[in-house]
């Protein structure tokens, strides 16, 4: 177990380094730079030259990369060039992650609230009308782009019913819990709906899988009621792959948050990267992407560990695939 864990950790390192290299290159290849944005319209070539030198943008790329990555390893994500000038990127990240993680968390709750009862019921009443309806609804749910759903929600609640909180905005938890939740309500639904459909389908098919297994059929043959079987065995075992799905979906949630945050004006990580790209704020773009990669790696690792703890069969997994 320790060996497995260690191996995985070791594999994460080149992944992180590789990711940092890729994002650095991509960002610096693009035309334009933060100095251009800073100088505004009254541009002065001499000043521009001096600023480029100060930011080290005239050095060869590999030197710039080493300088940046070196600092990252020391925990210094450097300073944003264009956002609240002078603020450390790590501070910006911390502020914004709070919002995005809250959104992800609430969306997950919304998703689970819908998916678990529907998925279980659907599996138990397989092929009956309620199952078909549930599956169709799940299909539609998975197919609705989250930005369309967001716009629809705003259209219906904000425009037609004139709810001011439906037009977007954000109030920090520290200021007011009730206001915060009011503003987070619609975005969580927009992001959580498609997610719920995914979870529901997963839950349903994994439950069906298990219900057709031998040990369950044996228990039934022995006269044990569905109720206790479901409660004790089926649901618990079905939840394992579901949990893996959820663990892996942090990427989905982070990607989906970009659009959701844009529509509902939430000051999260998704919006930050859009602003960063627009202003060519290299430290911000690099910091955000690197942090996202890191978060994914950590969560993947955590899921792997969880999985290997729960299912000893794969603990000492084979090499290769």
């Amino acid at each position: 177990m320790g060996v497995y864990l260690f191996k995985r950790l070791l594999l994460a390192v080149p992944t992180l380094v590789g990711a940092s290299l890729i994002i650095f290159l991509l960002v610096h290849i693009a035309p334009g730079d933060p100095v251009r944005v800073l100088l505004g319209q009254m541009d002065d070539p001499a000043l521009r030259e001096r600023l480029i030198q100060h930011f080290g943008l005239d050095q060869p790329l590999y030197q710039q990369y080493l300088r940046w990555f070196g600092k990252v390893l020391q925990g210094d994500l450097s300073i944003s060039v264009t956002i609240q000038r002078g603020s450390p990127v790590s501070e910006l990240l911390a502020q914004r992650y709070v919002v995005t993680l809250e959104l992800a968390f609430l969306s997950t709750i919304v998703a689970l609230l819908i998916a678990v009862p529907v998925g279980i019921t659907s599996a138990l009443r397989q092929n009956r009308l309620s199952d078909h309806v549930a599956r169709i609804v799940a299909m539609v749910g998975v197919s609705v782009p989250n930005f369309f759903l967001g716009i629809l929600l705003i259209l219906v609640l904000g425009v037609t019913f004139h709810k001011s909180w439906a037009t977007g905005g954000y109030v920090p938890l520290s200021k007011s819990v009730s206001d915060n939740l009011t503003f987070m309500f619609l975005p969580a639904i927009a992001l959580g709906t498609a997610y719920s459909a995914i979870i529901m389908r997963m839950l349903r098919s994994s439950m069906l899988d298990i219900m057709s297994q031998d040990y369950v059929r044996t228990a039934r043959a022995m006269g044990i009621g569905w109720g206790s079987i479901v409660r004790q065995d089926v649901v618990k075992n079905a939840l394992i792959p579901v949990m893996t799905v959820m663990g892996n979906s942090i990427g989905y949630l982070l990607g989906g948050s970009i659009v959701t945050e844009t529509i509902f004006r939430l000051p999260g990580i998704g919006r930050l990267i859009i602003i960063g790209v627009d202003r060519r704020d290299y430290p911000v773009i690099q910091g955000v992407v690197l942090s996202i990669v890191l978060v994914r790696i950590i969560i993947n690792l955590a899921v792997d560990i969880l999985y290997s703890v729960i299912d000893p069969r794969i603990r000492y997994g084979a090499e290769g695939e």
């Binding site: 035309p31 541009d43 070539p45 100060h54 627009d278």
Partner: protein, 573 residues
């Protein structure tokens, strides 16, 4: 008021049976007494009044000497006072300014300022001439790399004459100094030493933060309280502000609401009281709503098409220098572009008619615009067709690229122009790119054809605009260069006329007579417009909206557009 019964015992002498008798009487009167009731802490004070302003973009930097974005101006306007203020007619004024007056010497080389007395900074220090000297010197210092220092001019010395008199000596005559200084860091005067130390922590270059970047300290009616990135900035009343009755509210919160629709909704519902701009299409609807006041005034944002004069089809490539035929062909194509764009259609469709079509670079009704340009034909399909055929492209068709900044309406304008050109067989490729890449491509390469953007006319001086327009041979928007010693290696001479233009500018800069200067400016404008160096489309109107509970705000709105809360006399919320 309390009624009290007062009893007075009075001795009176009366006459009874012929004899004098002293009698005691009781006179009873009821008196109303005013009783002062001392109120102790048990009765609550009135709640602090909080004004909320919705702004579109998050400010970048609250240090007036280094900020370059508009968002910061909203806060700076209210935390600081400028040395010289600009009124609604874009003339310098001393209202809400720290200068009480100024005086030139005979040849416009020495400017003496009389400064206001009794003004305090938020940190308690006094404003005086040596503080002002610190402000000017800091900005001038090349080590500080202040981007707004250019308009300060060719300063030789800055001398403190006495506590409230400062004398600035220029090396050359600089008659427009007073107006130009409103566009420098002196738009907000900072306390002595306010910019702070430059250290590795905050950042090294002038664009790195100073101590004022996130904690501004000025003489303005509001003190800085907090800045929560992505959310809001809070200011509170400065009790020692040097103008009585200002400010009219206890707190101001600038809410950052990038989404126009949301900002509008907030204004309508009352959750903000002032917004920095109104979506054009909703202006009329909002104007008729009760509780909301709007104002529309000509603005200073010119919408224009930059043209690359350094490469075909609109210009001359390095191998075509001096090639008369090529020059003529490019000229005809530019004239075609000038006359084919239906500006009214753009104005109506995108801006609901709220703007002014331009004749040349400057404001159409100003006397700094050449009379020969006023009323000239802009959109003219017949003329356009003529030039189109003359250019020779009518036979072959034409493909060219129009880049536009991927923000606001720039790519929308491009889309309309693209469609207007389609019937002629012109294929316009519209390229939306971010602002930084736009300017990078424009200045550093010849690999573009036309660019659509706008420009905020910060300084109300026509000559000043012509400087940024085309003067600098080593750096102008349209690659209008003439051959000279020291021209960048990768640049080449492009469309003719630039040398003449620059000579006219040099003359105008030192011309003391205003009328003569005007005529020189007119000549430059005619050159640039008739040769279609760029296409100046229209000025857009500024649209303001606020709630009627903010009384007096309308007196402070100007074409520049900052949010000036100093004019608010009453806030009834």
């Amino acid at each position: 008021m309390i009624k009290e019964t007062v009893v007075e015992t009075v001795k009176e002498t009366i006459i009874e049976k012929g004899e004098e008798v002293v009698v005691t009487k009781e006179v009873i009167t009821e008196v109303e007494v005013e009783v002062e009731v001392v109120v102790t802490a048990t009765s609550p004070p009135p709640p602090p009044t909080e004004l909320r302003v919705g702004i579109s973009t998050e400010p970048w930097d609250l240090d007036p000497a280094i900020r370059t974005d508009t968002g910061s101006a909203y806060i700076i306007q209210n935390v600081y006072d400028p040395l010289i203020e600009m009124d609604v007619n874009r003339e310098p004024t001393t209202e809400f300014a720290l200068a009480e007056g100024w005086e030139w010497n005979d040849d416009a080389t020495v400017l003496t300022f009389k400064l206001r007395q009794g003004v305090k900074f938020h940190d308690g220090s006094d404003f005086n001439a040596s503080v002002l000297k610190y402000n000017i010197d800091w900005e001038r210092d090349p080590e500080n790399e202040a981007p707004n220092a250019g308009p300060l001019g060719p300063i030789d010395t800055v001398e403190v004459i006495d506590d409230y008199t400062l004398q600035v000596t220029f090396t050359d005559p600089y008659p427009d100094a007073v107006v130009l200084w409103t566009g420098t860091g002196l738009s907000g005067v900072v306390p002595e030493g306010g910019h702070g130390e430059r250290s590795e922590e905050i950042g090294v270059a002038g664009f790195a933060a100073t101590e004022l970047t996130r904690s501004p300290i000025g003489t303005g009616p509001f003190k800085f309280v907090e800045w929560v990135s992505g959310s809001h900035i809070t200011l509170e009343k400065f009790d020692d502000y040097w103008v009585e009755g200002v400010p009219a509210m206890d707190r101001v919160v600038f809410e950052i609401i990038p989404d126009d629709a949301a900002k509008e909704a907030a204004l309508i519902s009352g959750s903000v009281h002032i917004v920095d701009k109104v979506p054009i299409k909703d202006f009329e609807t909002i104007s008729s709503m009760s509780g909301i006041v709007t104002e529309r005034m000509p603005g200073i944002q010119t919408q224009l098409l930059y043209i690359n004069l350094g490469a075909p089809p609109f210009g001359i490539g390095p191998d075509q220098v001096g090639d008369e035929a090529a020059i003529e062909k490019a000229y005809n194509l530019r004239k075609f572009l000038y006359h084919v764009v239906d500006r009214d259609q753009i104005l109506d469709r995108l801006f609901y008619g709220m703007g002014t079509i331009q004749f040349g670079p400057w404001f159409p009704d100003s006397d700094w615009t050449s009379p020969n340009l006023k009323g000239m034909t802009t959109f003219d399909p017949a003329l356009a067709q003529e030039y189109w055929e003359k250019s020779g492209y009518a036979a072959t068709g034409l493909d060219f690229r129009m880049m536009c900044t991927n923000a606001q309406w720039f790519c929308d304008v491009s889309t309309i122009i693209q469609e207007q050109l389609r019937p002629y067989g012109v294929n316009v490729e519209v390229i939306p790119i971010d602002k930084s890449a736009f300017f990078d491509t424009m200045y550093e390469t010849f690999d573009w054809d036309v660019g659509m953007e706008d420009w905020g006319q910060g300084t109300p001086l026509a000559l000043n605009w012509l400087y940024y327009h085309s003067y600098r041979n080593e750096h102008n928007h349209n690659h209008w260069h003439h051959a000279e010693e020291g021209l960048r290696e990768d640049y080449h001479e492009t469309v003719p006329g630039h040398k003449e233009f620059c000579d006219l500018y040099d003359q105008a800069e030192v011309e003391p007579d205003e009328q003569a200067r005007k005529e020189l400016v007119w000549q430059m404008e005619e050159m640039a417009t008739n040769d279609v160096i760029q296409v100046d489309l229209m000025w857009l109107d500024n649209l303001y909206a606020w709630r009627d509970s903010v009384v007096g705000y309308g007196d402070g709105v100007t074409p520049e557009g900052p949010i000036n809360l100093k004019y608010v006399t009453e806030f009834t919320e």
